[in-house]
């Protein structure tokens, strides 16, 4: 239900996280462990293994630095660099620490709600730690009446509302995708808003918030497209799978994806990437431009690679079941519908 970005494909065009951000992420994970050791060592030991197991490399910080992931930590970092020549490293270390705690809070609950849990039920009390650390950091910077807290409440509560609503949906139509699926990611606005208020960014903060929302939407579409088979196997619904059910005619979802759906999904991603590009200039961030270039290059490479693989699958199907020509039903359904 949340953006996991689990692909491990490597690409020379991928943008690597810069050294300073990497250091902040390493420090934040170490700080979480240190706080647990000091305050709740028994629980902390179990949380430490859980955090490590989430990461494909077994190293918790690496989980947040993968180039295919939604740039949850990069966004406030890039925003800070666009607002000031010399970013306030102590503040940004706190923002990264808060955001990682917020992520783990959501991830723990999300794994339980999705049924992907392993040890999550045993460490559920760790949500108290993660939530407190996520929120408490900002109390150092914004007093109780500061407008930051209205952004915080609005984003945080609307994300919780959306997660609960999505659980009840059997299908996700476009309006549900916009109103519910994208709203689940509203929490990503919180660290960006914190940075904007801290640097007095004024109107420019609105541009960053708008971009964050648009990028969340794009990343969720990408997640739906690349998770389609996993979602299908686990009986999960998504906007992409709802569209597949609507368009597949008499064929299977799998056949629709191979013959038509994947290309449609990639075209939608390409189109929405151009929306992100239109928003980028107002941010004055070379990092964002580089990020979008990198995403576009990855998308093009995957279009070619996966398109080629699907052609081979169609050929194997044609050989092994010559009577049922691979995409005939899809073509037939389309011609009947037109």
């Amino acid at each position: 239900m949340i953006l996991r970005g689990t692909s491990s494909l490597t690409d020379p065009l991928e943008m690597r996280p810069d050294g300073q951000l990497r250091e902040l992420v390493n420090d934040a994970c170490a700080r979480i462990h240190a706080e647990f050791v000091r305050r709740a060592p028994f629980l902390g030991e179990q949380v430490r293994s859980w955090m490590a197991n989430l990461s494909p490399t077994g190293k918790a910080p690496e989980y947040f630095l993968r180039p295919h992931s939604f740039p949850l930590l990069n966004l406030p970092w890039w925003a800070a660099k666009s607002f000031a020549d010399e970013p306030d490293c102590e503040f940004l270390a706190d923002v990264v620490y808060s955001t990682i705690n917020g992520y783990y809070y959501i991830r723990l609950l999300d794994n339980l709600m999705d049924g992907h849990d392993t040890v999550e039920l045993n460490i559920l009390p760790a949500t108290a730690f993660f939530h407190t650390e996520f929120q408490a950091v900002y109390q150092r910077y914004f007093d109780a009446t500061h407008p930051f807290w209205e952004v915080f409440r609005t984003a945080w509560f609307s994300a919780s509302e959306a997660v609960t609503r999505e659980l009840k949906l059997d299908h996700i139509r476009q309006e549900d995708f916009e109103r519910v699926t994208v709203a689940k990611l509203a929490g990503a606005k919180i660290p960006v808003a914190a940075v904007g208020f801290h640097y007095g960014a004024g109107e420019r903060l609105r541009c960053w918030e708008e971009f964050t929302l648009a990028l969340s939407r794009w990343s969720q579409m990408e997640d739906d497209l690349f998770d389609w088979h996993n979602d299908l196997r686990h009986g999960k619904t998504s906007y992409f799978l709802t569209e597949a059910s609507r368009h597949k005619g008499f064929e299977s979802v799998e056949a629709w994806v191979i013959c038509e759906g994947f290309q449609r999904g990639m075209e939608a991603l390409r189109k929405d990437l151009s929306v992100l590009r239109r928003l980028a200039p107002s941010l004055h961030s070379l990092d964002v431009v580089r990020y979008l270039d990198s995403r576009e290059a990855i998308l093009e490479r995957l279009t070619v690679r996966i398109g080629g693989a699907f052609d081979v699958l169609k050929e194997v199907a044609r050989i092994t079941e010559p009577k049922a020509q691979a995409c005939d039903w899809i073509e037939f359904s389309k011609s009947e519908g037109s």
Binding site: H229, R305, I306, A309
Partner: protein, 63 residues
């Protein structure tokens, strides 16, 4: 095989996919596919390289 059966196998059955690449005749025997010589020859001529990363691209783990 249908596209549905094929993609399920390619995405989640590593052994099956390796057998398809290596020896479609053996695969046909082991899995009762009843492929004839012409079909087996055609499968042997296919370059499967592009499928190798499909499961990874779609975030599946071979099981």
């Amino acid at each position: 095989m249908t596209l549905k059966q094929l993609i399920d196998k390619v995405m989640s059955d590593y052994e099956w996919y390796q057998q398809l690449k290596k020896d479609p005749a053996e695969l046909s025997k082991l899995h009762g596919l009843n492929l004839n010589e012409r079909q087996i020859d055609a499968l042997r001529k296919i370059n499967y390289e592009s499928i190798d990363h499909l499961a990874e691209a779609f975030r599946e783990e071979f099981t």
